[in-house]
Symmetry: C2
Subunit: 400 residues, 2 copies
Amino acid sequence: MNDFSFFSPTRIVFGKNALESIGSELGRIGCTKALIVYGGGSARAAGTLDRVEASLDAAGIAHVELGGVRPNPEITLVREGIELARSEKVDVVVPVGGGSVMDTAKAIALGAVYDGDVWDFFVHRAAPTERIPVAAVPTLPASGSEASNSSVISNDAEHLKCGINTDLNRPVAAFMDPELTYTLPPYQTAAGAVDIISHVMERFFSGEPAVPVTDHIACGIIRSVIECAPRALAQPDDYDARANLMWAGTLAHNGLAGCGVNVPSSRDGDWTCHGLEHELSALDTSITHGAGLAVIFPAWMRYVWREHPERFLTFAREVFDIKAVDGSDEAIEDAVTATIDELQEFFVSLGMPRTLGAFDVHEDDIERMIPGLTLNRGEVFGSFKQLTLDDARAIYRSAL
Amino acid sequence: MNDFSFFSPTRIVFGKNALESIGSELGRIGCTKALIVYGGGSARAAGTLDRVEASLDAAGIAHVELGGVRPNPEITLVREGIELARSEKVDVVVPVGGGSVMDTAKAIALGAVYDGDVWDFFVHRAAPTERIPVAAVPTLPASGSEASNSSVISNDAEHLKCGINTDLNRPVAAFMDPELTYTLPPYQTAAGAVDIISHVMERFFSGEPAVPVTDHIACGIIRSVIECAPRALAQPDDYDARANLMWAGTLAHNGLAGCGVNVPSSRDGDWTCHGLEHELSALDTSITHGAGLAVIFPAWMRYVWREHPERFLTFAREVFDIKAVDGSDEAIEDAVTATIDELQEFFVSLGMPRTLGAFDVHEDDIERMIPGLTLNRGEVFGSFKQLTLDDARAIYRSAL
């Protein structure tokens, strides 16, 4: 087992009445004025914002709001939020929405107590040392941002999309009501499920050591998503299915799934597939992150599994009950291939694409993704298997 | 899925160099003077105290110490520690040892900032509102106290042993080096493994809802203990086996294993078996907690399984790959019985006792345990199945 550290201080309040305790909980930790951050009008239309505001009102916590967060959230709105947070003297930021909304709130929370421009943190010109607390109301099980240390923000003017990982980014609390996810479109539900599974796999396939307790937990989270995502698609108001997806989404990305497996020098996982997908979404911003991962991950797996076949055999056994019939190279290859096939078929069964062609991405697009990949990941990347830009080209090509 | 809250803020530093970062980590959070708490001389003899002190010295953190914590730790030493913490103006308590040492440190940390007598908290005459931080160095994988909300203290003068559960009891950090457990006697290693499994089972068998993500995690933790405990017994310096047991011990008792299964009104689990074992240890203080649980838990399982057979079938399938051949009552009973048998045989294979007779506890001792049980649990208890004192008598009798 590799050395590790684990820190997940977010207080989770989970269930049908979670939103009603926001005010009392924030009051308990001394908050007096909240900046509520949200995206489009759906949080208002669904009544979620009203419930959050009512809970804050009941606890005597004042609030202002900032709407309009878009997918691939942009630094301009973050800066606007920082101005608002300062001028209104808010002492807590409350995102109500998905990963983009939560990441925007985290950036505002860091920037509100920093003298310079918050973008400095994202390009590593400065390191944050404090923040105001974030208390999240996630409405989409996918990003795991409600307990993660990560925030990813785009800068349109500079054509950049950058992330910062710091424990300061971990929300102090998350109020999670699975009923809020009943109205998610099937495509978003499915892409969210792939994102959750990918967060676990980036960690599971980041190093070589077998760590039974972490491996069982990681594969158990994946199995629960495989069991519950089809149920949520078949019956959108299946509370238990939605609840399991939502809790799995948090645990997939709070660090638990990589303890002792991750190479200590890595970024809490391998993250090559996220890197490859990142460039795909940059090429065409209409590509949903989870849908891109559904294409990229199986392609990466087929390319790298020979580096540590024993990891794939563990995954095969624990997730799909697939075992190699004997220890021969052929039997191992058969078992691994069957496992990757089954995972990909599961993604496809949810309505996710199988190839880059489904996104209208073709051979001649590959070179257009390489400069961004080089900028974001360098010329060599990956902890499970070290890859070069030529390897990246080959993986993209295999997914066409 | 039942509503739940989850809060596990302890920062875990895990691995071969964990102890060396105590000073820097405590310095980072502003600590200036530590009270080191330990038990007998083994922490000194093994060099563990020296390593802790060296790390504190290097970070410029002053320290005083208090040794002599016994099993079933007593309130007198807690009061002594509180006096010391106050007179020396310490701002962090650092237990180095097992559950008794950590529980003592937690009680000192609560009492040091309370005007009355700390025992008030344990008999619910007062509720704590603050504490000084605790940073734990666990040396025995069993209690999970390094991340739990619990502290259990004995009061010899009043013939009481009482616990207090509060989030204030959760250590701010735990520094966990599996190598510290190489020298544990086999019986302690085995009893610790049973205690870890029991902490998960108290939660797994606390309610009836199937919660795939939590069930997979819970059963995965148990499987990792079943895999690794025999390895640790066979080769005491098997690092990976020791490390898995140690991390499993933390996750078994930080609340993760019950999310959504626990009945919200329960105490984060059923805890009947802990209650029944508590009286056994009170009858004969030489009985190791985990060894008592190895006898009590299978007896309880045989007594209650018909209340929610489906929970036992899930456990059977996930932990032991045992399935009922069909849905008939007979097939279900066969599968459940085989599962409980297999669990009990596992405990016995570790060197744990099978019956109360092994502790020289017999039929006429049963009535002697009932008054304590009544005092601590009342006349009716249990969330998986509500039990009476006559049920308790029957369970004890079945384990003779």
